[in-house]
């Protein structure tokens, strides 16, 4: 197989980073990205892009840690280079605060982020309703810049990108040798995965350039994440809701909750409301599969179900998916040479 043709379906952070990894591990592959949405209209564009892992109940912790480590290391190098501003990657320091001390005071990722330590009494005074906190420095991927930068890197490798709604993976079998499914929430329909469910998140993106520190309530519901041009205020975690329309009452509630943690946000300008559906699953599906229909086989690599943690593990899962693509290629090559015998 001289030049395997690989279709990556989905152009959020997972699709684009997976496509990029494939071009890196398989330079002879011809990669095409197909998606009905591109930045700035993907779920990834709604997210703040903070590297703070979400825990997947059914994925082994060591695997989650490896994904996070790989992602952090990769972005750390970019943040420290001349490309940082174009790629939208920057360091941000701040606090995760808890109203009651969490069972696990040291999360698995505490030695991966920078300078992780418990907050001092003096720091906790800023948050009278919270009794415990963690201070650390982590990375943030601002979107659209990060997605646009991935697209630019892909174009430089000759990767084509097309706006196209794929309703059935079999549509692609005549044009492509391998299909990579990075459709996020779209996998619910596309591959009928009933274990995948939306967790609706509403956020506000505001202009408040004096906010330099992130603040996250350990309950995951209230957070303030300063980005390059805007601060993301959140949020909600509405399990099972497919509603993509902003809710005015929710906007008010998010704003009030964030102002109670950071009163200066009262002066925030230019409030933009966005909604995204976190493509949630008990474990991230990074898996090979060979679909079969009427004697025809279609190798598929799945990489979806990252829920609230897409940015935190994207590079790690992209690399794993790229290895699975390599395995598909080997399998195709050995079966085609067997066919010749």
């Amino acid at each position: 197989m001289a030049s395997p043709k690989v279709a990556v379906v989905g152009a959020g952070v997972i699709g684009l980073s997976t496509a990029l990894c494939i071009t890196e591990t398989c330079p002879s592959c011809s990669v095409t990205v197909l998606s009905d949405q591109f930045s700035p209209n993907t779920t990834s564009d709604v997210a703040a892009g903070m590297l703070i892992p979400h825990i997947y109940p059914d994925t082994p912790i060591h695997r989650q840690k490896q994904w996070f480590q790989e992602t952090f290391t990769y972005l750390f190098a970019i943040s420290n280079s001349v490309k940082a501003s174009e790629a939208g990657i920057h360091l941000v320091s701040g606090w995760q605060i808890f109203k009651s001390t969490p069972k696990e005071e040291l999360p698995f990722w505490s030695d991966i982020v920078l300078g992780f330590r418990p907050m001092s009494e003096a720091e906790l005074q800023k948050f009278p309703q919270h009794r415990f906190g963690q201070a650390f420095t982590t990375l943030k991927c601002d979107c659209p810049p990060y997605l646009l930068w991935l697209e630019k890197r892909l174009k430089a490798t000759g990767t084509q990108m097309y706006t196209r709604k794929v309703a059935d993976l079999w549509e692609l079998h005549s044009e492509y040798d391998i299909v990579v499914n990075c459709t996020g929430m779209g996998a619910h329909q596309l591959v009928g995965d009933k274990q995948l469910f939306p967790v609706r998140g509403q956020v506000l993106k505001v202009h408040a350039p004096w906010v330099t520190q992130f603040i996250r309530d350990g309950d995951g519901l209230t957070y303030i994440y300063p980005g390059i041009h805007r601060v993301t205020l959140g949020g909600t975690r509405e399990k099972g809701s497919w509603n993509l329309s902003p809710n005015a009452g929710t906007t008010r509630d998010i704003f009030d909750r964030c102002c109670s943690l950071e009163p200066s946000l009262q002066g925030a300008q230019d409030i933009e409301v966005k909604v995204g559906l976190r493509p949630s699953r008990q474990c991230v599906r990074v898996q090979r599969e060979v679909l079969s229909k009427g004697g025809v086989k279609l190798p598929v690599v799945h990489n979806y179900g990252h829920g609230a943690g897409g940015f935190s593990v994207h590079r790690g899962t992209a690399k794993e998916a790229a290895h699975l693509v390599e395995e598909c290629i080997s399998a195709l090559q050995s079966s085609s040479s067997r066919a010749k015998l």
């Binding site: 920057h90 360091l91 200066s264 009262q266």
Partner: protein, 348 residues
């Protein structure tokens, strides 16, 4: 009782406010007047980035450390007030970097979360082997000075655009107490060989992805002669110039190159930052701050002068502690002049 404050930088305005807050209600005849030839945004305080941070070494001056602490604690209390944004006050974290081990600074327990840098953090800064991380405050002069001016104006303080040439000038006009907050130009009012310019130059850039201050230190070349990057609410300040004895307020191409190259080496992404301005200013440097009373015989009048100048590169850092001390000195003057029976109480 007429009080003239000479100078409308952070020192003059905050001293005026402190005195007004503490004594106006006790002394209805109190009239405060601010005299200056430069007002915001043209003062030295406006050019400063506005980071609260004393020098790495306290020069053995415990009193200054106490004034720094008083200022930090005061500002921290204001942080959650509705005025914070208007004051230009916000929290900021960042890095102090060294090429060799340095003793902990006098302010390590004043700021929040002070700690040494981890090896992984030091990977961000090749060439630096040690450093500190802490959370401190920004107080941007471009916002703080107008805020102070508004408060003062609301309380009836008068402002005069005038270059005062001598203490005699104001004293002869009938002013009872003079506050000398004239910063770099104090030598015009009274020669002071200890007061020397510490010339600085900065480049203002748009680099909104920078969320931390980074101050490098070169113990050989001295304070502020090593690159620093300080992000503000509207632009990021790049600096690293301290020239003792240089009175020039013109931007130097050589200094521009030095700042730009050293800051880009520190943070490569700055190469893509857009330059939006450049400024030079004179830090009013002195071995220690001059904060004291002086009774001067001027003609047949005994003039009371309170000196409050020589704050070098840490004026914003120390301003409130000094303003409170100046107000205390003012209180003693009032007592002596039998204007007050007792000094204002502990609520202050």
């Amino acid at each position: 009782m007429r009080v003239a404050i000479i100078g409308a930088g952070v020192i003059g305005l905050s001293s005026a406010l402190c005195i007004q807050e503490q004594f106006q209600s006790l002394l209805p005849s109190l009239e405060l007047e601010v005299y200056a030839d430069h007002f915001t945004p043209h003062t030295t305080s406006d050019g400063a980035a506005g980071l609260w941070q004393p020098y790495a070494s306290d020069r053995g001056n415990l009193q200054e450390t106490l004034w720094n602490k008083e200022t930090f604690d005061y500002l921290l209390r204001q942080l959650h007030s509705p005025a914070a944004k208007e004051m230009g006050l916000f929290l900021i974290s960042g890095y102090n970097l060294f090429t060799e081990p340095a003793p902990d600074p006098s302010w390590k327990n004043i700021v929040l979360g002070f700690r040494n840098l981890t090896p992984k953090e030091l990977e961000l800064f090749p060439g630096y082997s040690h450093g500190w991380f802490n959370t401190a405050l920004m107080l941007e002069g471009r916002s703080y000075l107008p805020w102070l001016t508004n408060r003062l104006t609301q309380r009836g303080v008068k402002f005069f655009h005038k270059k005062v040439e001598s203490f005699q000038e104001v004293s002869e006009d009938g002013v009872d107490v003079v506050l000398n907050c004239s910063g770099m130009r104090s030598g015009v009012l009274q020669p002071d060989p200890e007061l020397q310019p510490g010339r600085g130059q900065i480049i203002r850039v748009l680099a909104p992805w920078v969320k931390h201050f980074i101050i490098t230190h070169d113990l050989k070349s001295g304070v502020y002669n090593s690159p620093y990057v300080i992000p503000g609410s509207e632009f990021t300040v790049l600096g690293g110039i301290y020239q003792h004895g240089n009175w020039s307020e013109e931007n130097s191409a050589k200094d521009h190159k030095s700042i730009w190259e050293s800051c880009c080496q520190l943070l490569p992404a700055l190469q893509k930052a857009k330059i939006v301005g450049e400024w030079s200013g004179l830090r009013p440097a002195r071995p220690s701050v001059r904060l004291e009373r002086e009774s001067i015989r001027l003609g047949n009048v005994q003039a009371e002068v309170i000196h409050n100048y020589g704050h070098g590169g840490f004026g914003i850092t120390i301003h409130w502690g000094c303003a409170m001390a100046a107000a205390r000195l003012f209180g003693t003057i009032l007592q002596e002049k039998k204007q007050l029976v007792t000094l204002p109480g502990p609520r202050l």
